[in-house]
């Protein structure tokens, strides 16, 4: 299980790196699809079928919306001003090296805090289930639903569902306001 997940994650990382450096915006969006659909396979391997259904649909809708935004506008990556690499000078000059140095420094600082966060987690596959023990025992009897994730989402954690529905309504109102063509008289 770990080996398969590692291979899929490496594909996703390669797709992500290509997607941010593509010259054509349409290629960047298709590479974003690699990461999204790879995530669907990861969810299926990690025994989470609800999440796989939702992620595949949301990824498709996101891709359709973004392609319709990009397709009628400038598709090509903007021309870089040749301010970093001049002809005749050496390839490594001080600004380029400085940027890479700052990037590696920030990555090391974040890796240090990541180490503090991860060292209290148990290894992959050995979950303590300290909080979910009571949920898993009582879910079928108290809520009556055979799908325990639905029971948790709508019965034990109903407020989160209400908050999420509110966020969706607010996003729709926001999109309709931003894309208004002319105001009312």
């Amino acid at each position: 299980m770990e080996a398969i997940l590692t291979i899929i994650l490496i594909f996703m990382i390669l797709g992500a790196i290509y997607s941010l450096h593509a010259r054509d915006l349409l290629s960047a969006l298709i590479s974003m699809g690699i990461v999204g659909y790879g995530l669907v396979i990861c969810f299926l391997l990690l025994k989470a079928p609800d999440l796989a259904i939702v992620q595949i649909l949301v990824e498709t809708i996101t891709l359709v919306i973004m392609v319709s935004v990009v397709l009628d506008s400038t598709r090509h990556e903007l021309k870089e001003k040749a301010s970093i690499v001049h002809d005749g000078q050496s390839f490594i000059n001080s600004r380029y090296v400085g940027n890479i140095f700052i990037g590696v420094l920030i990555a090391l600082v974040l890796l240090y805090t990541y180490h503090f966060a991860i060292e209290n987690l148990s290894a992959f596959g050995e979950h303590l289930m300290r909080m979910s023990g009571p949920y898993l025992e009582d879910a079928a009897g108290t809520t009556g639903s055979a799908n325990m994730v639905t029971g948790v989402v709508f019965d034990y954690r109903g407020y989160d569902t209400l908050g999420e529905a509110t966020i969706l309504v607010t996003a729709v109102v926001g999109v309709l306001t931003v894309l208004r063509i002319q105001g009312r008289k």
């Binding site: 609800d50 649909l57 359709v64 639903s145 799908n147 709508f154 019965d155 109903g158 529905a165 894309l179």
Partner: protein, 142 residues
Amino acid sequence: MSVIVKKVAQLLSGLIFMYGVYIITHGHLTPGGGFAGGALLAGSMILLVLAFGSDVMGLKKRETGSSIIENSAILVFILFATIAMLVGTRVFFHNFLPVGTLGELISAGVIPLYNIFVGMEVGAALFTIFLALVIYKEEVLK
């Protein structure tokens, strides 16, 4: 789009709509639930809009109708939660209908009703967002 694309889109979108309704109503028995089924409903409508092109007037009427469906679905959802507060143990999301036996279609109290209204709300919200973008692009960015 050609005639073949339009006919196949009509057939497929009907099937996808039925599949979405199945996933919503069986949300407490099989994997799925309100959000997955709602996204499928939105997907079937988006397929129809993509295949048939866009005359802006018809799309504007659809956008108004879809926005009304979304807002009334979230209103009924909050109404159910408030009724649960007035009945029984005064808790906001209390499961007040009888629980029934495990594995039946009509069981699990008020959860199937929650699933249906959240599914309608999510589907209508995603479809409204898509229509707003398409109408704006058609009218302005020409």
